[in-house]
Amino acid sequence: MTDALFEQVRTSLAGMVTDATVAHGILALTAEPAQVAPIARALKENLGFDMFLDVTAVDWPDRDLRFDVVYHFYSTRDHVRVRVRTRVPASDPTVDTLVPLYGSARYMERECHEMYGIVFRGNDDLRPLLLYEGFVGHPLRKDYPKQKEQPLVPYRK
C-alpha cells in the first residue's frame, strides 16, 4: 500500500523532482530550490501529506552547493513520510518559505535560520528562537568554533 502511494507521489511529481528513491521506508525526493514550495503544495493538497514535521539543514563545507535543506512531511491518513532535499550555495542560501502552507513552519524555519543561516524568503519573522539577540554567527555550521562562547553576563574576575 505504501509502495502504491510512493508510486503515486513519484508520477504526480515527475516533472518537479530530480531524483526519487526509497530509503529506510521513507520516500526521499531531491529537487531544485525553486521547486520545493510547489512540491510541498502538491504533497499537501493532492497527496494527503498534511503534517509538516521538520526543516533542517546539513552543512557540507567542501561542496560548491554547501547546504542541504531537508524537509520532512507526514501523512496522518496513510502514516507515511516523505523527505524533500534541496541544495543551496553558501553565497545565497535562500529557499522559499512554507509558512503559507504550514503554520508550524514559522518556528522551524526560525530555528533553521539561526542555526545554519538559511534564509527563508517570505518568512517575515526570522528572529532568534533558541539563541538570543546579539549572537554572531550560526553555531551548527561546521566552521563555527566548537568552544566559542558569546556570554550575555560578563564573567567574574
Binding site: L130, Q147, E149, P151, L152, V153, R156
Partner: protein, 168 residues
C-alpha cells in the same frame, strides 16, 4: 539571700544558662534554617525531587521548605545546566536574594558545564556568581547531596556572622 537573686525563683538541677560566642550561636541557628530556592533547569531535578522527599528527606537538615521567590530564601540551589541565554536570569535571582545567602551548584553542569563545551552552555555558574558548595555527579546521588548539605552546614557554623549593630 542565697544564690538566686530573682524573687520567686527556685534553683533546680537543670541548665540555668549557657555560654557561647555570638558567631557560633548565630551560625548554629542559621545552619538549621536553610530555605532553598530551587533554580531547576534540567534532568538533575529528578534527583533533587528524590533527595527532597520522603526517603532521603532534607527536612532532617532544616533544608526542606523551598521558597519559590528569591526574596524569602537563603540557599540558591542551581540544579542543572545553565545556558548563556539563562545566565542573566540566574544573575538577577541571585541579586534579589537577601543576605546572608549561600549558593549550591548541584551536579556537574552547574559546577563546570559538565560535558557541554559549546556555544550554548555556561561553563559553570561560578563564572557569574560566587559558589559556596559544589556537588559533582551526573546526577549526584542523594547521599552526596546530603553530604554536601552537611558540609554547607559546617561552613555556616564556622562562618563569621556580621550583624550590623553595636550591641550584637
Amino acid at each position: 539571700m542565697t544564690a538566686s537573686t530573682r524573687p520567686g525563683h527556685q534553683p533546680s538541677a537543670a541548665f540555668e544558662y549557657l555560654t557561647t560566642k555570638k558567631d557560633e550561636f548565630v551560625g548554629w541557628a542559621r545552619k538549621f534554617s536553610l530555605f532553598p530556592y530551587p533554580f531547576v533547569t534540567a534532568c538533575c531535578a529528578m534527583e533533587f525531587m528524590s533527595v527532597s522527599s520522603t526517603l532521603y528527606d532534607t527536612d532532617r537538615f532544616g533544608a526542606a521548605l523551598p521558597r519559590f521567590t528569591p526574596r524569602q530564601s537563603d540557599m540558591l540551589m542551581v540544579v542543572g545546566t545553565v545556558t548563556h541565554k539563562q545566565a542573566p536570569i540566574l544573575k538577577k535571582v541571585y541579586e534579589q536574594m537577601c543576605e546572608p545567602k549561600w549558593v549550591v551548584a548541584f551536579g556537574v553542569c552547574a559546577s563546570t558545564g559538565g560535558f557541554y563545551q559549546n556555544y550554548a552552555a555556561l561553563p559553570g555558574i561560578d563564572k557569574i556568581i560566587p559558589v559556596d558548595l559544589y556537588i559533582p555527579g551526573c546526577p549526584p546521588r542523594p547521599e552526596m547531596v546530603i553530604d554536601g548539605i552537611m558540609k554547607l552546614q559546617d561552613k555556616i557554623a564556622a562562618q563569621r556572622h556580621p550583624i550590623i549593630n553595636k550591641d550584637f
